[in-house]
Amino acid sequence: MSTDLLETPDRDREIMTVNVGPHHPATHGVLRLVVDLEGEMVRELRPVIGYVHTGIEKSCEANAYWKVIPFVERMDYVSYFFQMEAFCGAVERLVDLEIPPRAKYLRTIFLELNRIHSHLVWLGTTALDLGAISMLWYCFRERDKILDLFEMATGQRMHTRYFQVGGVIEDIPVGFEAKCRAFAEEMPVRVGQYEDLLDRNEVFLQRTKNVGIVPRERLLELGVTGPLLRAAGEPWDLRKATPYLAYPEVDFKIPVGTVGDNYDRYRVRVAEMIESSRIVAQCLDALPDGPHIADDRKYVLPPRSELSTSMESLIHHFKLVTEGFRVEPGEVYYAIENPRGELGCFVVADGSAKPARVHYRDPSFVNLQAFRDMAVGTYVADMIASLGMLDPILGGVDR
């Protein structure tokens, strides 16, 4: 408290420092906020992070490249496919390995399903923060269908370890295509139902419209990417800007906002869910035949059936499982569009079978810097709404 406040005791200008979190349902994870309040107005705000730091980047350095994949999945635990794609893509660029077309399409399908899943978790929990509890049940109903699809294809509902260096671990099972197509057709209808529930809800509109506006230039200065930046009117999406996987071959739009308030952030994400369903449907239509993983035995496990007939396959299998593959020295930064923005994976290879450095540029970590601009000068209740609209995943922030 500054001294001039002490000299002129004025009950209207009393600043109180409040600690929010780290364990609080409204902080969407283990985030601690030290907030200076004047009455109900937020005057200053300091996020304190690091409570779920688990040293994943350090652990990656002690493991062979193929064993790193399950580690990095556990950073941002809501968008695990993106972590896998960033790491596998970076290693594929390091070893100059082209993945087959079918693997590209399969990866795109799972990435977009994951994007819908991530946005559903965001919409459910953020609407819950604003008092719309039924949204949580509707969103998690659809989320469960996506998890069923993940389980059907990969055996796991979360942390699937499905992407491999060179492609995907196995082809989709019989019946997946029909189930996935049915979901992609149903999802836009469901999104329409969410919009019916929220778009004309007076409480929701008053809580979100013109709240938490940050100008576009300031967002760019702060390095903010993803739906937050697009809601402010900047059509920057790495899927269009630096196309990767099957994105150049499918037709989709980049939703952008105009005002950049919390309502626009909600609109952009909801529109993205519809676009993602369209991408999934198009990828299923255009899914090419052929292998689901590259045929380079130096990096990719040979098919199980070959092990009993081919000595070379057995040797390759043994080498890959025991030591892993070695990567020539070099470094690569590979960035993809995660549900929250630019997810970059930086890998340094030193010639051994283990990476010398794995670093993730996580969008939640960078976007969190914009939270102060969003919340200072608003009510404490709007701060909670803005935090929800920022959508940080603390596993990704702390890694």
Binding site: I49, G50, V332, F346
Partner: protein, 171 residues
């Protein structure tokens, strides 16, 4: 990405305006990098950000790597984007290990406010001091932590972990 000749053109133009700032270029796996003098890193970054026709104005990532046993040991990487031309360019400053003291480099928070947390993270894990950073404290590790955990000579494990069966040993 600028291609290899494009990278050399950028290098030539920086050389004209800030002689000696760029030490070398590297074009590896289709990724372009400028290796700059760590003392002149701000000159190079400012030129890339503000020079008309270049405008690498978006810092997408700032991270570091420990190249032990190579010398110079530490590398601070700046991943820049030119959003008009959709080109990425990496600026790399290599820092020697000063032994007992901590390696130092100028902070680019003034140029790129997004670097605030990322420079803190690099300090936290590598012990690289960013001169002029407004609040250079640990960000992810506890404030009282000793050591720089992402350095290659920092061992994995070795910290006693208390489980029910081993509780007695560390009391």
């Amino acid at each position: 990405m600028p291609d290899a000749p494009g990278l050399e053109l950028i290098r030539g133009e920086i050389e004209r305006d800030c002689p000696g700032a760029v030490l070398a270029t590297s074009f590896d796996r289709a990724q372009a990098a400028l290796i700059v003098d760590p003392e002149r890193v701000l000159d190079a970054l400012r030129w890339l950000k503000e020079q008309p026709g270049q405008r690498y104005a978006f810092l997408s990532s700032l991270h570091a790597a420990d190249y032990l046993p190579n010398e110079p040991r530490f590398g601070v990487h700046y991943e820049l984007i030119n959003r008009d031309r959709v080109e990425r360019l990496r600026v790399k400053a290599m820092l020697a290990d000063p032994g007992e003291e901590l390696p130092e480099i100028d902070s680019c928070v003034e140029l790129f406010p997004t670097a605030h947390n990322q420079e803190r993270e690099v300090f936290d894990f590598f012990g690289i001091v960013f001169r002029g950073h407004p609040n250079l404290t640990r960000i992810l590790m506890p404030d009282d932590y000793v050591g720089w955990p992402q350095r290659r000579d920092f061992p994995v494990g070795g910290e006693p972990v208390t489980f029910t069966h081993s509780e007695q040993r560390y009391d």
